[in-house]
């Protein structure tokens, strides 16, 4: 299979787009057939949809990828799909509110809270789904694991109210943004590729100072992800140093001191 087929060509794609012509290749159908064998498929479709798709795809080839592909250092897949996904995506698409009962981080149950569902987020690290939503009474932005949602029902939300809520969410997300500047310690420049790969999953800009042969990475992230940035920093160890971002610097100092204390080195 050649991933660079003529049929995928950009000019052709644009032309077909204009005439709303849909062209699905055998490659795409084979990929789909392979994916339908994943246990997630049974949660993604109604049983008759799934069997209809399987029937249509029956003549297609399946990839035998499993015998030649090995995935390493993958987190255990807690879930790829979740039964709530289909329900919640429809609530969000119809611009409705929700009444939700959930368990918070400390195990306490919050009953029948009114909220506006914003987006559904999958954590590639924790391998599970979260509902991002706006708590109407507390005016706060929430991220609740699907696993901790006990019940959820659709409620009406008028258009004007929704516009206000969306604006508020955007303000909150903006105010949560922070930046840190991370410098690659020069003697590790030969590992640059690895270091840049480690940060390639973030919003970032890189600066190169040719005179001193120094690389600096400016990472933009949400406050709530500070811990994740710190774990990436510790992951890379002495190869990188935070040069701007006071709180992160303090945390790195604290982390190194506490670690040394574990080894009786304080």
């Amino acid at each position: 299979m050649n991933p660079f087929e003529k049929i995928f060509n950009y000019q052709l794609f644009a032309r077909l787009h204009e005439s709303s012509t849909i062209t699905i290749t055998a490659h795409e159908r084979s990929w789909l057939k392979t994916m339908l064998a994943h246990p997630a498929a049974s949660q993604a479709f109604q049983p008759d949809t799934l069997s209809k798709l399987q029937q249509i795809l029956e003549p297609e080839e399946t990839y035998d990828i499993a015998s030649s592909l090995i995935e390493k250092a993958k987190s255990v897949e807690k879930q790829v799909y979740h039964p709530l996904l289909r329900q919640l995506r429809r609530v969000i698409a119809s611009n409705q509110g929700v009444r939700i009962t959930y368990q918070n981080k400390n195990g306490r149950i919050r009953s029948e809270q009114s909220g506006f569902p914003y987006k559904l987020e999958y954590s590639m690290v924790k391998r599970e789904w979260y509902l991002l939503w706006y708590h109407l009474r507390h005016h706060s932005f929430m991220a609740t694991r699907f696993q901790n949602i006990l019940s959820v029902a659709k409620t009406e939300l008028d258009d004007a109210q929704m516009q206000i809520v969306i604006a508020q969410i955007e303000t909150i997300l903006d105010s949560k943004k922070e930046q840190a500047v991370i410098e690659v310690v020069r003697s590790y420049n030969k590992e640059l590729s690895r270091i840049l790969y480690a940060f390639s999953c973030f919003e970032k800009d890189v600066e190169y100072e040719a005179d001193t042969d120094t690389y600096r990475i400016t990472v933009t992230f949400l406050m709530d992800d500070r811990e994740y940035i710190l774990s990436k920093m510790r992951f890379l160890g002495k190869r990188v140093r935070i040069v701007s971002g006071q709180e992160l610097k303090e945390r790195m100092l604290e982390s190194s001191e506490k670690a040394l204390a574990r080894y009786g080195m304080d």
Binding site: L16, S68, K119, Y263
Partner: protein
């Protein structure tokens, strides 16, 4: 004619995405091993693809390519590097003709003769009119890639578009399919075919409701799809037990690409290494989002390559089933205890993880159970637990252990414990100066 290669574009995009605007034109070109002129030409070509795809007019949107490809989490719904796979060049007359054919048979099944009439009627005057042979070869190609199929019945064959997976579904079912494809393409590997299908389904759904992007994936190694360009070549060679030859650029060598000169007079010495290898396994590393090829070479035994360093890949002779099985078993045994792909000597590692303080939920233990691969928890008390694992060498597991910070104490082997102490001392020294300001 040589098959069009996309090595340059792939290397180009990778460097662009990884270094996000760090280099000037000269610096960039130098690192890729191309001229500034080629650099400019490649930028122009890639921009042209993006503009065509998004129907944006260059005049209104004169942006730097780096800015166009800057990853932004809350606008990240479309896989931005996918356009690479739409870079195959096509003559304008051909793209015009193919789109006419496809659009026409989307309405109703037609014969080759009827399609010639369609082209004669609808092709703009300045395009050459296709003869029957051309149309037949177009149909053959479209049938081969599975976009169209023949209707049952004898000659003359009637062709129709092959998209039942869209047309036989209700709007509701199409929504479920779109979601499934989106989720699987984003969370599983390989993804490129899924992303291409997603583009198609998006188009199909547009007719029903405006597709709002509802799903976010945090944090994805989105540049992983660049290496998928080579993936099927590797899989095919493995399936056919065929050796591969390629020019390999180790990511550590600095240079990423060298142009394939057809005129020997201009041949420069390249810094890549010519390799001949029997491919055995492809490894995807979730820690960095990188792909590797593992194989066997007569000279070196087990060999490992970063897929990003492979250029000018060519299939060579095949080996016997028996030889392949032997080499594969040898490799499998060697990587059984690889955290990633280290084939060094197995070491038993023993570490103590500390539970979080203050009655917080035990995220440390969760993480260890989720990411600790085949390691096991051997002892546990109220404060901590002991985790043991046998791995090949200590190099690859080290970053993971270190990422736990003070929640992880290495117990064995003693040298690893000493090295961790030294490393934490060094990290501490980076930040010591801030203590005075605290």
């Amino acid at each position: 004619m040589a098959r069009e290669s996309f090595d340059k574009e792939i290397q180009f995009l990778r460097l662009l995405v990884l270094t996000s605007g760090a280099y000037s034109r000269q610096q960039f070109a130098e690192r890729l091993g191309i001229s500034v002129h080629t650099f400019d030409k490649t930028i122009k070509r890639l921009k042209d693809i993006i503009y065509t795809m998004s129907n944006e007019l260059p005049a209104h949107q004169e942006k730097e390519l780096t800015q166009m490809l800057r990853y932004s989490y809350y606008d990240s719904s479309d896989p931005m590097l996918l356009f690479l796979f739409r870079a195959k060049s096509l003559k304008e007359s051909e793209s015009m003709r193919l789109s006419l054919i496809l659009t026409a048979i989307q309405e109703q099944a037609l014969t080759a003769a009827e399609l010639i009439d369609v082209c004669n009627e609808q092709l703009p005057a300045d395009f050459p009119l296709p003869d029957e042979k051309t149309i037949r070869s177009d149909l053959k190609y479209l049938e081969e890639v599975g976009v169209i199929c023949k209707e049952p019945g004898g000659r003359p064959f009637r062709y129709r578009i092959h998209n039942e997976i869209v047309t036989s579904l209700t709007d509701e079912e199409l929504t479920d399919l779109y979601d499934f494809v989106d989720v699987m393409a984003n969370t599983q590997v390989p993804s490129v075919q899924g992303y291409l299908l997603r583009d198609n389904l998006k188009k199909a759904r547009k007719q029903a409701e405006p597709a709002a992007e509802l799903f976010l994936y945090k944090y994805p190694f989105y540049s992983r799809i660049l290496d998928e360009a080579h993936l099927y070549t590797l899989f095919r060679a493995i399936r056919h037990r065929r050796k591969l030859s390629f020019l390999y650029f180790s990511p550590k060598s600095g240079k990423r690409y060298t142009s394939q000169n057809t005129n020997p007079l201009f041949e420069k010495e390249s810094s890549g290494k010519q390799e001949l290898v029997l491919p055995l396994k492809v490894i995807y590393d979730h820690q960095y989002g990188r792909w590797y090829l593992l194989g066997n070479s007569n000279r070196l035994g087990i060999t490992k390559y970063r897929v990003e360093g492979l250029t000018q890949i060519e299939e060579k002779e095949s080996v016997s089933e028996d030889q392949f099985a032997r080499k594969c078993a040898e490799l499998e045994e060697k990587i059984q205890f690889s955290w990633l792909l280290d084939t060094g000597r197995p070491v038993k590692i023993k570490v103590r993880f500390y539970h979080p303080e203050g009655g917080e939920p035990n995220f440390i233990k969760h993480r260890v159970q989720q990411q600790g691969q085949w390691g096991t928890i051997t002892e546990e008390n109220e404060e901590s637990f002991v985790f043991e694992i046998i791995v090949n060498g200590t190099m690859e597991i080290r970053p993971w252990l270190r990422s736990f910070g003070s929640s992880c104490e290495v117990l064995e082997p003693a040298y690893l414990r000493r090295e961790f102490i030294a490393e934490w001392k060094e990290i501490q020294s980076y930040y010591e100066s801030i203590r005075e300001n605290l």
